[in-house]
Amino acid sequence: MKVRLVLLWVVVGIPLLWGVMKTLENALKLFQ
């Protein structure tokens, strides 16, 4: 159950983190 829990959070977390990183990269242009 624990492995499944970690796996499921990783599966949804990776795309979300990728999206947040891409957005932050873009947002930094505001302060340049």
Partner: protein, 452 residues
């Protein structure tokens, strides 16, 4: 076989099931349907399907293409209202599966529309079919999460609804990357991107479909028992959906949501031109895009932070903060523009957008407090019609008043001031409705047996 897998009775969790498996299942659905916020990335390419690098005379114009998103939002609200009760009876797995079929199907039908260059197929595909997927998908995990987390309903629904805000952060760069990947001399890659995204989102939503479970009828968190003396405005009674919308509380909450969303959605849609016009010559288009990205991040973060906070300070107090702080910030924005302070201007709008997201994420738990858990998903569905109205009202207020001001000789940099004060007025209406909230009269309470 397939229908039995989807049936509610086959999704009841076995003893020892970890309830923290349910939020990522809900997130898988909300991260997918949150793509809707990034649909504008397709707008320009859709106007260049024939001309490729420029718009040819036979190409669609931006106004025609803009209707795709508007139809989707209208169908989001109406399908959530119409299918809300079915979602409650069918259970989360069947409704998430239906949402996946509709949402992904919307992409495929739209791809056909691009292939045949028939705009009505995009209205029907992404607008109607996709919009129904948005509405059903949005409400499908809500009541399940509330039942799994009776001790922290705000945090639980906040996690899922955060996904709807986060979906745009993924979809915007993903669709740009895919269009660049599929671009050829004869195509700008829209058709292939729509098909690819339809397939990707179907598979991603299926993760949620297979992982979601409902708690057993007698289940409660280990070591937790319902408080003997619930907090003020937290009911232990149940109200059915058909009765709920006859109560004044439903309509007070409808106005509360509508005013909160109107105040945020108009700004979100006009954020890029607004900051460039207010700080003319000081903010480049690239920097303005960064501002939009920052607002999206706060829109997403506000959902989990404010909804979780509401578990401690109460739903009504959370909305009091939204409205009072919103009035304060909106009324100071014109001054910040005159002072030329970009950091303070950006900070003010980041907080405003965090409260816009927070409003969406806190409302399911507010409904649960007022109407109980019995048909909270269906009641939530009907309340989302407020979103459809706000989706029209917000942009109209910002765009039309700005244009009216400019037509009457007001400089572009000051054309938003009146809109900001009107937003304050709308937030004041929301504040008064929230202030008037009381417990539901006993005559509306449901007397029958309540299924888990």
């Amino acid at each position: 076989m397939a229908s039995s897998f989807l049936d509610r009775q086959n999704t009841v969790a076995p003893p020892g099931f970890d309830r923290f498996l349910v939020p990522p299942a809900a997130l898988a659905v909300h991260l997918s349907i949150g793509q809707a916020y990034a649909f504008s990335t397709f707008n320009l390419p859709l106007t260049r399907l024939i001309g490729h690098s420029h718009s040819a005379p036979a190409d669609w114009d931006l106004k025609q293409v803009g209707w795709i998103f508007s139809i989707a939002i209208v169908f989001l609200g109406s399908s959530a209202a119409v299918f809300g009760r079915w979602v409650e009876t069918a259970g989360p797995r069947k409704s998430m599966f239906t949402a996946a079929l509709c949402f992904s199907g919307g992409f495929i039908v739209s791809a056909f529309g691009v292939h045949l260059h028939q705009l009505w197929l995009l209205y029907l595909g992404y607008g109607v079919l996709g919009g129904c997927g948005l509405g059903i998908g949005y409400i499908s995990p809500v009541s399940t999460l509330i039942k799994w987390f009776p001790d922290r309903p705000g945090m639980a629904t906040g996690m899922a609804i955060m996904g709807f805000g986060g979906g745009a952060l993924i979809a915007a760069p993903l669709s740009v990357m895919l269009m660049a990947h599929f671009k050829t001399a004869l195509s700008n890659g829209v058709l292939e991107t729509l098909v690819t995204m339809g397939v990707i989102y179907f598979m991603f939503m299926m993760i949620g479909v297979t992982a979601v479970r409902v708690p057993a009828a007698d289940w409660k968190p280990a070591g937790w028992s319902a408080p003997a003396h619930p907090k003020q405005l937290v009911t232990t009674a149940q109200v059915a959906v058909d009765m709920a919308w006859r109560t004044p509380q439903f309509w007070l909450l409808w106005v509360v949501l509508c005013m909160n969303v109107t105040a945020g959605i108009g700004v979100l849609g006009q954020a890029s031109p607004m900051i460039q016009e207010i700080f003319s010559g000081r903010v480049t288009p690239a920097a303005a895009a960064g501002f939009v990205g920052l607002l999206s991040l706060f829109n997403m973060g506000g959902r989990i932070i404010w909804a979780s906070t509401s578990d401690y300070i109460g739903r009504r107090n959370t909305y009091m903060v939204f409205f009072l702080l919103g009035i304060l910030l909106y009324s100071t924005v014109p001054t910040l523009g005159h002072l030329g302070s970009i950091p303070l201007f950006v900070a003010a709008f980041c907080v405003i957008l965090s409260m816009y997201g927070g409003g969406f994420a806190t409302i399911p738990a507010y409904l649960r407090d007022i109407f109980g858990t019995y048909q909270v998903g269906a009641i939530h569905g009907r309340l989302l019609t407020a979103w459809s109205v706000a989706g029209v009202l917000g942009p109209v207020l910002v765009n039309y008043i700005r244009q009216y001001q400019i037509d009457n000789g007001v400089p572009k940099a000051q054309a938003y001031s009146v809109t900001m004060y009107i937003m304050c007025g709308l937030l004041l209406i929301g504040f008064l409705c929230n202030f008037a909230m009381r417990a539901v009269d006993e005559k509306y309470h449901y007397r029958g047996s309540v299924q888990s």
